[in-house]
């Protein structure tokens, strides 16, 4: 057991606090997407999951968020299989934002964010103490307080994404899973969301996000998980995974892209620069 606020990485093999995928086989109908996947997500760190389209990133985070049941293997949270948790207790530990969440017609930002409080409600307690504070705080941190009474459907993409993230924050969980939180946002809003992810990490949360931009992943995440064809192809710190010639080879193998690895002039992290066409 490690201290909740420490951003230390749990070494593989120790009794894992946090999320562990153990020999997962997951699929849809007859197709198998993940086959024998093992993964330990470092507690208290910001992990980015990257990989080409269709490699199973969403399938993995859905399984980690128990909205998809594995055919074999299990996801463990603090050493206990997700299926052994009571749904609401688990929802107080683990928040998940899917790739394309349903926007209910007419819902306002405040009403959406308030729905993140459901895990704290019970049949005889439809409002929980602390709801208002948690909702106000989540809206404040994500900068949507001024939009509280606006319908979600009338917001820009960036504002809407921040409202969704506010909902997962209101859930007040030590673990947060986000599936492509930056897709379809302009660059400034992408960076904005990545800063929110880092802030969550700084508050001691374990943050896992599926990202498309390798350079952003390398720059903002503590830990990279590179997926390829339903498996974890490589994982480690951004430097270890993407740095140097090995990084260029990995991008070639996984994304089928010829590139060289430069250094981000701001952060010093590896930066993938595709080669010009000959």
């Amino acid at each position: 057991m490690t201290d909740t606020t420490a951003a230390s990485h749990t070494a593989p093999g120790t009794t894992a606090r946090g999320l562990v995928a153990d020999d997962l086989e997951v699929g849809y109908g007859p197709t198998t997407v993940l086959d024998g996947l093992n993964l330990t997500l470092p507690a208290g760190a910001f992990t980015a999951i990257v990989g080409p389209n269709g490699c199973g990133k969403s399938t993995l985070v859905r399984t980690l968020a128990r909205t998809l049941r594995p055919r074999r293997g299990a996801v463990l949270l603090d050493g206990r299989p997700l299926t052994a948790w009571r749904p609401k207790q688990l929802a107080q530990q683990l928040a998940f934002l899917p790739q394309d969440p349903v926007v209910p017609d007419g819902v306002t930002v405040r009403s959406l964010v308030a729905r993140g409080r459901h895990p704290y409600h019970s049949p005889l307690r439809q409002w929980a103490p602390g709801d208002d504070e948690a909702v106000a705080h989540a809206m404040d941190v994500t900068g949507v307080t001024a939009l509280a009474d606006d319908p979600l459907a009338e917001l820009s993409g960036g504002q809407r994404q921040r409202a969704w993230i506010a909902m997962t924050l209101a859930q007040d969980t030590p673990h947060v899973l986000l599936d492509e939180p930056t897709s379809f946002l302009d660059l400034a809003h992408q960076i904005d969301v990545l800063h929110v992810c880092r802030d969550m990490r700084d508050q001691g949360r374990t943050v896992v996000a599926v990202l498309h931009d390798l350079n952003q992943a390398a720059r903002y995440a503590d830990h990279l998980v590179v997926m390829h064809e339903g498996r974890v192809h490589a994982e480690g710190t951004p430097d270890a995974v993407l740095g140097g010639d090995a990084g260029a080879r990995l991008v070639g193998d996984v994304f089928d892209l010829a590139c060289e690895i430069a250094t981000d002039p701001q952060s010093g992290t590896p930066m993938v620069v595709p080669l010009a066409r000959a």
């Binding site: 128990r66 909205t67 107080q92 819902v107 306002t108 308030a114």
Partner: protein, 330 residues
């Protein structure tokens, strides 16, 4: 003003409205009984004839409030679960189930309507909803389309059966045509006692589910990650909507438009939060139905207009107003 305090104001306003229309309902009617006639009765005396009139008005007002509250809340739940703004209790088969049972009992078992209608209509509605849910269940599917389609199919089939019976049997036609419009004219305390348990059970179940229904509106995936047992909540929601609508239909016949229009009015007033929508729909639905019944008694003196006719006339502009405000949402 925050959503919550605004909703509280709306709830109090609707309650005040309900009190006012309930009082008016005790005094006004197709029989001309003024303040001076009714007050002594309420004080426990007065003219015997007037006493009978007032007694029946008490039962009628209470039953009207129950029917309106139940239909409105049932509509809120059905529109929420099916994510369909045109949803109403009839979508689940409640109305056709009750109607088919009444028609069958009349045609084959010499049933003549009256107080016993409840015991025919309630099981009819329950069986129909079970059939719709069974036919519309597709394992692992997040879509509610199969459920809605099953409801449409059952409605078509039973509708055809009802039409055939009504055309073939004049005796069926006679009793059925009064029942099917929706009326509180025969309201008595026995009917109220018969349907109240189902309505109260449905209301309690609905209130207990409110926060879960809010999560369910975000889709099955998010609902699951918020700790909702999705199949359980959806099933319990359908059960609550059925209990409410079946109680209302058994008591007064299929009263049109309340289950469709009131939820839209409620959402325009208090937003999409079920924890507010449900209580407000109970009170506002009750107030609007009692008001419609009073109107039906007053405008057509010395006869009366059936409440189902009035709600159809009055409900349409309400719905239109909600649509034109651009607030038709689920």
């Amino acid at each position: 003003m925050t959503r919550g305090s605004r909703a509280l104001v709306v709830l109090l306003g609707a309650t005040a409205l309900l009190v006012v229309v309930a009082v008016v309902s005790l005094f006004a009617g197709s029989k001309d009984t003024g303040l001076t006639d009714v007050l002594p009765v309420l004080a426990g005396g007065g003219d015997e004839y007037v006493q009978a009139v007032v007694d029946s008005r008490v039962a009628r007002t209470a039953l009207g409030a129950l029917v309106g509250a139940a239909l409105a809340a049932s509509g809120v739940i059905v529109q929420g679960i099916t994510r369909n703004p045109l949803g109403e209790p009839g979508l689940l088969g409640v109305t056709v189930g009750a109607s088919a049972a009444v028609v069958t009992a009349t045609a084959f078992f010499g049933f003549t309507g009256g107080g016993a209608t409840v015991w025919v209509a309630l099981p009819g509605a329950a069986v129909a909803v079970l059939a719709v849910v069974t036919l519309g269940r597709r394992s692992g599917s997040e879509s509610v389309v199969p459920l809605v389609l099953a409801g449409a199919v059952l409605s078509a089939v039973l509708g055809a059966y009802i039409q055939a019976m009504v055309l073939a049997r004049p005796d069926v036609f006679d009793s059925y045509r009064h029942w099917v419009v929706g009326s509180l004219a025969g309201a008595d305390l026995q009917t109220l006692q018969a349907v109240a348990p189902a309505a109260i059970a449905g209301a309690v179940l609905a209130l207990v589910l409110a926060s879960s229904l809010d999560s369910l509106a975000l889709g099955d995936e998010l609902a699951t990650s918020l700790g909702v047992r999705v199949p359980l909540v959806r099933g319990a929601g359908i059960a609550a909507a059925t209990l409410l609508a079946a109680a209302a239909t058994a008591a007064a016949g299929p009263v049109a438009f309340v289950g469709l229009a009131v939820p839209h009015v409620v959402r325009a007033l208090v937003g999409t939060d079920h924890r507010w929508q449900l209580p407000v729909s109970f009170v506002l639905g009750a107030a609007l139905l009692v008001a419609a019944d009073v109107a039906g008694r007053v405008v057509a003196r010395p006869g009366e207009l059936m409440v189902g006719v009035v709600t159809a006339f009055v409900g349409a502009p309400f719905l239109l107003a909600a649509v034109r405000r651009g607030r038709v949402t689920t």
